[in-house]
């Protein structure tokens, strides 16, 4: 039972990581640094809430969440692909925009600096089931959980088995070569970033609809963890998915461990971040980053 509870919690925590990190793989393999996953998620969470609130349907919220992530992604594409702005700087600026913008519109739409009203989400109120199996069953009713799990093989397939994936990999590795063959590198990159926006937007949607509301800054650094997973997994969808599961397991472990109060919470809190740094120094090392990552076309 404890095992099931553990696994159920890992599953709930890993879904947004899987979605956002898969998006991150797509974007980075095309050569665009995915620092803005956090911003995509936050925007997606907010627009999903708006959609669900005004339409009264979580499905509309889901579409709106995708749209929000894509909208911010297109801004990133505009700045980095069209205007060739530095990707790290543009990424940071867009994160700031996402934080400020969602606050601004939260205030504008709901006159609150804290949270939106409750909106429809997927699945009912759980019907009072407490057991681990019951929460697992509840997760199984959430389409976003399935989308999150399916995203990994789909992105892997897209990247390694389709013409678009071939072009994405070429655009991230040697864009001038792709361009000399008539591959519209700019368009490929824009599409890849938009895909990242859509997936990270879905990650935000999952968070918002799971909570049935938007709260200010509710992504709380999950986008950065997803980015860490992309690097930890060396830009390969399957390995990235494994990294996501690892991080989610660490977090679950932390939640369980903290109750026991053996170590000050500050130290437990650091685990995923320290793990990432250690991984970067040890496991990944001089990693196989796409050669043109961060470079203008």
């Amino acid at each position: 039972m404890i095992v099931v509870a553990f696994l159920a919690q890992v599953l709930r925590i890993v879904v947004p990581y899987l979605l956002a990190a898969s998006g991150g793989v797509l974007s980075e393999r095309a050569g665009i640094v995915a620092l803005t996953l956090e911003g995509f998620m936050l925007t997606g969470a907010f627009t999903a809430t708006l959609g669900s609130y005004y339409a009264g349907s979580p499905w509309v919220g889901l579409l709106a969440g995708i749209a929000g992530g894509v909208a911010l992604a297109l801004l990133l594409a505009l700045a980095t692909v069209r205007y060739k702005a530095d990707q790290v700087v543009a990424g940071i600026a867009l994160n700031l925009l996402a934080i400020g913008g969602t606050r601004f519109f939260l205030r504008y739409a709901f006159d609150s600096s804290s949270n939106s009203p409750r909106v429809p989400g997927f699945g009912g109120d759980g019907g009072g089931a407490v057991g681990a199996a019951a929460t697992l069953a509840a997760s199984a009713q959430n389409p976003l959980v399935w989308i999150g799990i399916l995203t990994v093989p789909v992105v892997a397939w897209l990247l390694y088995r389709t013409p678009f994936g071939l072009r994405v990999r070429a655009a991230g590795e040697k864009p001038e070569a792709a361009r000399s063959l008539g591959v519209p590198v700019a368009r490929v990159r824009v599409l890849a970033v938009a895909g990242a926006g859509a997936l990270a937007g879905l990650a935000g949607t999952y968070l918002a609809l799971d909570q049935h509301q938007f709260t200010d800054g509710m992504t709380a650094g999950r986008g950065f963890i997803a980015l860490a997973a992309v690097i930890f997994g060396r830009w390969d969808p399957k390995r990235v998915a494994f990294a996501c599961v690892l991080f989610a397991a660490a977090e679950t472990f932390q939640i369980q461990l903290q109750g026991a109060q053996l170590i000050p919470s500050q130290f437990v809190e650091m685990i995923p971040y320290v793990l990432t740094i250690v991984a970067l120094a040890g496991v990944v090392g001089r990693s196989a980053a796409p050669a043109a990552l961060g470079k203008a076309e």
Partner: protein
């Protein structure tokens, strides 16, 4: 002059600028169908730019581009078309620098942009089959399923050509394709090109090697300062005449520089080396600068059992031993990718050898870094000036002190005045153009960029040993003449020079001894007198000489 065949390409009045730089002005080009056409000119003359306009990579600011679709029939105005449109119309370009994605396989590189699909998926098997078939048909042998990162430069160049042919190119543009090829590989390429032309295809070939121009082309267009200055039938001209048209004056060509004086010098060096072994000093070392600690009896550079790991192999350089005497040029020939790059990087201190010893003027420098070796009397003209030799965004003045920064500073403070003086002096002495030391190195032509490196490495410090890697690659004839002259002077001043070049003619023109490198080893070392293209060729391809131990 009359064009017998109907034209396949006609460019007229093309103008292309990059910010303040005018790369092409009123440039024109006419090539008949079925013709092999050479496009020549100094560095920065605008050849690559003009061809990129033709291939749809740049839109011209002015002028017209006309092409006969699929290389036959009536000309069609295609000014300002895209790469994709050019490819569709049968125009393909092989670029000066590799345009390959190293992480993808050969087949993936070939089909990129024109992917074969099965449903939504890539049809990898069919792509590989088609590439194999094409490879068979053209004789350009390369394994379709290997990642490009594992290929040798020669193989990579084959993939470049396959890429273009795969797209059914009837008009083939090749920008300096032979710069990295061995003589047999060049011959193989010529066969392919002649075959293409025989079937009505049209070829435009950019090259700096005038013997190649004479060898392969039917007609020649000469460019100078962005514009077309002459159009000649190859049969009616000589290398000398072409060179004159390019530069506007007479030039000494590398091909015929082996004058009497040089023969004499080579013999002198050999005699001296022999007498050194005999234990007696037969001849005083030539005059050198203040720091004349170097003794002619000792070799200036002594390398024993040097082994260097590379990205692809653990023994990219495999136990090489040699020595170079003061006043001697050791030429290292060989097809690129046989360890020359790694050898020189290890000598310069840029790569750590896994075994062996390097001694400069008798002192062991194996453990020293770049800076310490430079201070011990080592200068280095790197093979890749864009990556290593220059900071492209820096001014000419700053580039002229790269690696010498500690000589141009007092304590931690840089001495700006001396840096400026140094720049003004060297720009004048080495005729670096434009003569404005504050311009970024990026704005200069390849030849002038190379002059910066040469000026710095050959005057900046009191060196005993010069490592010169591909010193004239991609450099025009005028600059080649100048650089070769500089190298000869250095030899005369008693410097020991290691010259690595993929250009056999250059090696034969300059070296006193010639080593051929194959698979990380010296396949042979011959005195200049015994070396010739015919004799060295088999060693370069591994057909002769010691096979490396498995």
């Amino acid at each position: 002059m009359p064009v017998t065949q109907p034209p396949a390409i006609r460019l007229a009045g093309v103008r292309k600028t990059f910010g303040p730089v005018v790369a092409n002005r009123d440039a024109s080009l006419e090539v008949a169908a079925g013709e092999i056409h050479a496009l020549v000119g100094e560095n920065g003359a605008g050849k690559s730019t003009l061809m990129r306009v033709l291939a749809g990579m740049y839109g011209p600011d002015a002028g017209t581009v006309q092409v006969a679709p699929q290389g036959a029939g009536a000309l069609r105005d295609v000014t300002g078309w895209t790469t994709a449109e050019a490819i569709a119309a049968g125009v393909g370009m092989v670029h000066q620098h590799f345009m390959l994605v190293p992480t993808l396989t050969v087949a993936e590189n070939v089909v990129l942009g024109q992917e074969l699909t099965k449903g939504l998926q890539l049809d990898r098997a069919r792509a590989e089959a088609e590439v194999r078939a094409l490879s068979q048909k053209t004789g350009l042998q390369v394994a379709a399923d290997r990642p490009v990162s594992e290929l040798s430069v020669g193989e990579a160049q084959r993939v470049e050509i396959l890429k273009v042919l795969y797209r059914g190119a009837r008009i083939l543009i090749l920008d300096e394709p032979t710069a990295v090829l061995s003589p047999p590989e060049v011959r193989e390429l010529w066969t392919v090109l002649r075959g293409l032309a025989a079937q009505g295809g049209t070829v435009v070939l950019i090259t700096h090697k005038l013997d190649e121009v004479v060898d392969i082309s039917d007609t020649i267009t000469v460019m100078r300062a962005g514009t077309t200055v002459e159009r000649i039938r190859t049969a009616d001209t000589t290398p000398q005449a072409i060179a004159r048209a390019m530069v506007g004056r007479d030039v000494a060509l590398a091909l015929d520089v082996m004058g009497a004086g040089d023969e004499l010098h080579a013999e002198r060096v050999e005699r001296r080396a022999a007498s050194v072994e005999g234990g007696a000093v037969a001849e005083a070392a030539p005059a050198r600068g203040r720091d004349s600690t170097l003794d002619a009896r000792r070799s200036a550079l002594e390398v024993t059992g040097l082994t260097v790991a590379g990205a692809r192999r653990p023994n990219e350089v495999d136990g090489v031993s040699f020595s170079v005497a003061p006043g001697e040029i050791l030429g290292i020939a060989g097809v690129e990718g046989n360890g020359q790059t790694e050898l020189l990087e290890a000598l310069a201190g840029l790569a750590r050898p896994t075994a062996g010893r390097i001694a400069l003027a008798g002192a062991d420098v194996t453990a020293l870094g770049v800076r310490a070796r430079a201070d011990a009397g080592l200068s280095h003209i790197p093979e890749d000036r864009h990556r290593r030799g220059l900071v492209l965004d820096w001014s000419i003045a700053d580039n002229l002190v790269l690696g010498l920064q500690h000589r141009f500073s007092a304590g931690a403070r840089l001495d700006g005045r001396r840096i400026d003086e140094n720049a003004r002096r060297l720009v004048r002495e080495f005729d670096i153009r434009p003569a404005d030391p504050s311009l970024p190195a990026r704005a200069l032509s390849g030849g002038n960029q190379q002059k910066i490196v040469i000026a710095r490495e050959m005057t900046g410090r009191d060196y005993h040993v010069l490592l010169a890697a591909q010193p004239t690659r991609g450099v025009d004839v005028g600059a080649i003449e100048f650089i070769h002259d500089q190298l000869r002077r250095a030899r005369a001043a008693g410097k020991a020079i290691v010259l690595v070049s993929a250009d056999l003619a250059e090696i034969l023109a300059l070296a006193d001894r010639v080593a051929v490198m194959y698979r990380g080893r010296f396949a042979t070392v011959l005195p200049r007198r015994e070396a010739s293209a015919e004799r060295l060729g088999p060693y370069m391809t591994g057909a002769a000489g010691a096979e490396p131990a498995a």
